[in-house]
């Protein structure tokens, strides 16, 4: 039952985040690049002021699967690195991006080689 409730919360908050993005798209005609950067920075700010972990405890994947989660892991890495030294403090944030970036770039490369573009059909 508790697991089920977790999914309901993830759905509600995740949906809400996307709905806010849609409001910005409708009202300001922002392109997806700007939307993604804006929500990434929102995640960075929320993590930096310490609010992110409370939202994460409540919503789980509802806040970590949107790009806000990516922003949060960057700041988490930076915080972890700062305990070790200056070099680690400025590089560990990027280290936390490594998994996602590697996956996106590798699969982007792979699928672009294998599949033909569909953009003309739409």
């Amino acid at each position: 039952m508790e697991i089920f409730l977790g999914y309901v919360k993830a759905f509600a908050i995740g949906g809400l985040v996307c709905m806010i993005a849609q409001i910005f798209i409708n009202k300001t005609k922002m392109t997806s690049a700007r939307i993604l950067v804006m929500f990434l920075l929102l995640g960075v700010v929320l993590e930096f002021v310490g609010a992110f972990k409370f939202i994460e405890e409540f919503a789980g994947a509802g806040i970590t699967i949107p790009i806000t989660g990516f922003g949060s892991t960057i700041v988490k890495g930076a915080k972890e690195g700062a305990k070790i030294g200056l070099f680690e403090s400025v590089t560990y944030g990027f280290r936390n991006m490594a998994g996602g970036l590697t996956a996106a770039i590798f699969f982007g490369f792979l699928f672009a080689l294998i599949f033909k573009s569909h953009s003309k059909k739409v």
Partner: protein, 148 residues
């Protein structure tokens, strides 16, 4: 002048009805994608009990990016995106879509200057924003640690 008024009329009224619809679509699709991510998180926690939480979440992101990339490659993700808008852009699968979609489209202009370069048309700003925030917050945390 009358034509212009008529166009304004159509524009405002059409916008109103489609505005609510796009919000509902964004909510439903965005919520659903987050639930898929939640499910992968729960599954990986059972399958990999001795992995730490940060590694599990990175693995979930990578899995979602794989799914987003694959659905983009077979042409499904863009079809979802027509209705879902923000619901398909903001989740991490949308980031994957923003990498794979231009990579596929510009592949015909050559591997190096087409695919590899244009892959970052949308992802580039995200990587720059992420890297700059990483350095800035890291430096602030470092100074805070020094003062302590």
């Amino acid at each position: 002048m009358e034509d212009k008024q008529y166009m304004d009329y159509i524009h405002t009224h059409a916008q109103k009805s489609s505005h609510v619809t796009t919000l509902v679509w964004a909510f439903l699709v965005g919520g659903l994608i987050c639930c898929v991510g939640q499910a992968f998180g729960d599954i990986f926690k059972v399958l990999l009990p001795n992995w730490e939480q940060s590694k599990i979440s990175a693995l979930v992101s990578m899995t979602m990016i794989f799914l987003g990339s694959f659905l983009t490659a077979i042409g499904v993700y863009d079809k979802i995106g027509i209705h879902a808008g923000g619901g398909s852009i903001v989740p991490i699968t949308g980031f994957a879509n923003s990498v794979v979609s231009p990579a596929m489209e510009f592949n015909k202009e050559g591997i190096v200057l087409g695919m590899m370069a244009k892959m970052f048309v949308i992802a580039g700003p995200i990587i720059v924003a992420g890297t700059v925030s990483s350095v800035v917050t890291g430096f602030i945390y470092w100074i805070v640690e020094l003062i302590r």
